[in-house]
């Protein structure tokens, strides 16, 4: 598998995961949202009406990132900025997981092992996007 194919595979993963989770969040029916959060993040959360509204807003932005990743998937050369942006997003989310690990563990009962595994996974995704993105002079 060549470099471009791996980049596209990573972008497809980012795209599909954001579109699916974003759609669930945007529609925000409490039970499926709680199940999705539990399955993907290993978190236990009770969806209150207030929380539901924040999840709806988050869902809209996740959908947007999913569509942007689709743009980049279709044409990585022309959408280098989106690839960089998604990589930065993933890095910042890893930083949040590390800085707020205690809070996440306490509030959502996410096991530390799972939290570190997730962080490493998203760090690897971000690194792959930064390493594999087309070079600036070719963009």
């Amino acid at each position: 598998m060549n470099k471009a194919a791996v980049l596209r595979a990573v972008l497809a993963l980012v795209c599909i995961s954001h579109l699916v989770l974003g759609a669930i969040g945007f529609v925000s029916v409490p039970e499926p949202v709680a199940k999705a959060i539990s399955a993907v993040y290993g978190a236990t959360v009770t969806i209150t009406p207030e929380l539901q509204h924040v999840i709806r807003i988050l869902g809209a932005f996740m959908l947007a990132i999913g569509v942007m990743a689709a743009f980049a998937f279709m044409n990585p050369q022309e959408n280098r900025a989106i690839i960089t942006g998604v990589a930065v997003l993933l890095l910042l989310r890893v930083a949040q997981r590390i800085f707020f690990a205690g809070e996440i563990h306490e509030v959502f009962a996410v096991a530390y092992g799972r939290l570190w595994t997730q962080s490493l996974f998203f760090l690897a995704l971000a690194a792959a996007l930064l390493i594999l993105r087309p070079r600036a002079e070719h963009a």
């Binding site: 945007f26 959360v45 009770t46 209150t48 009406p49 207030e50 929380l51 509204h53 924040v54 999840i55 709806r56 807003i57 988050l58 809209a60 932005f61 996740m62 959908l63 947007a64 990132i65 569509v67 942007m68 689709a70 743009f71 279709m74 044409n75 050369q77 022309e78 959408n79 900025a81 989106i82 942006g85 998604v86 930065v88 997003l89 910042l92 989310r93 949040q96 707020f100 809070e103 996440i104 306490e106 509030v107 959502f108």
Partner: protein, 139 residues
């Protein structure tokens, strides 16, 4: 930049401490927000997405002709937000005490911004006339 700046500022504030965003919404939307630990953390996640969205909109403003797809996407996100606000007016009033007139005003404002972006973005046929136009590309 009118589209880019608010999410950048809200995003930076929210990514570090959800309290800042709650205070901002209390001020700008006259909302009564009870910040639970779950909501505090979700606002931090939302902050990251807001920051990225704002940064990409700012990037698009540097060369709108090159980044037509980002402008279209920005308009779609604003449309989704306007739809959420306008369709959930009653719920927002009940949950967060947001005055109905103020919510309608915010919804219409977002709708107008979205329409302005769609109307003012460079036309696909005139973007870099004579060069290739990519369906999913920035050019």
């Amino acid at each position: 930049m009118l589209v880019a700046l608010p999410p950048i500022v809200e995003g930076i504030a929210g990514a570090t401490n959800g309290t800042w965003v709650a205070k901002w919404y209390s001020f700008s939307s006259r909302a009564t927000v009870t910040l639970t630990p779950e909501m505090n953390y979700l606002l931090k996640v939302l902050g990251i997405y807001l920051m990225l969205f704002g940064a990409l909109m700012a990037y698009a403003s540097t060369d709108p002709k090159q980044h037509r797809s980002l402008i279209t996407l920005g308009a779609i996100v604003l449309l989704l937000q306007a739809f959420q606000r306008l369709s959930l007016t009653g719920e927002l009033h009940e949950l967060f005490n947001v005055p109905i007139w103020l919510n309608l005003f915010h919804g219409m404002y977002l709708l107008l911004l979205a329409l302005a972006l769609l109307w003012l973005r460079p036309k696909a046929s005139t973007v870099l006339a004579g060069e290739r136009v990519h369906l999913f590309g920035s050019r």
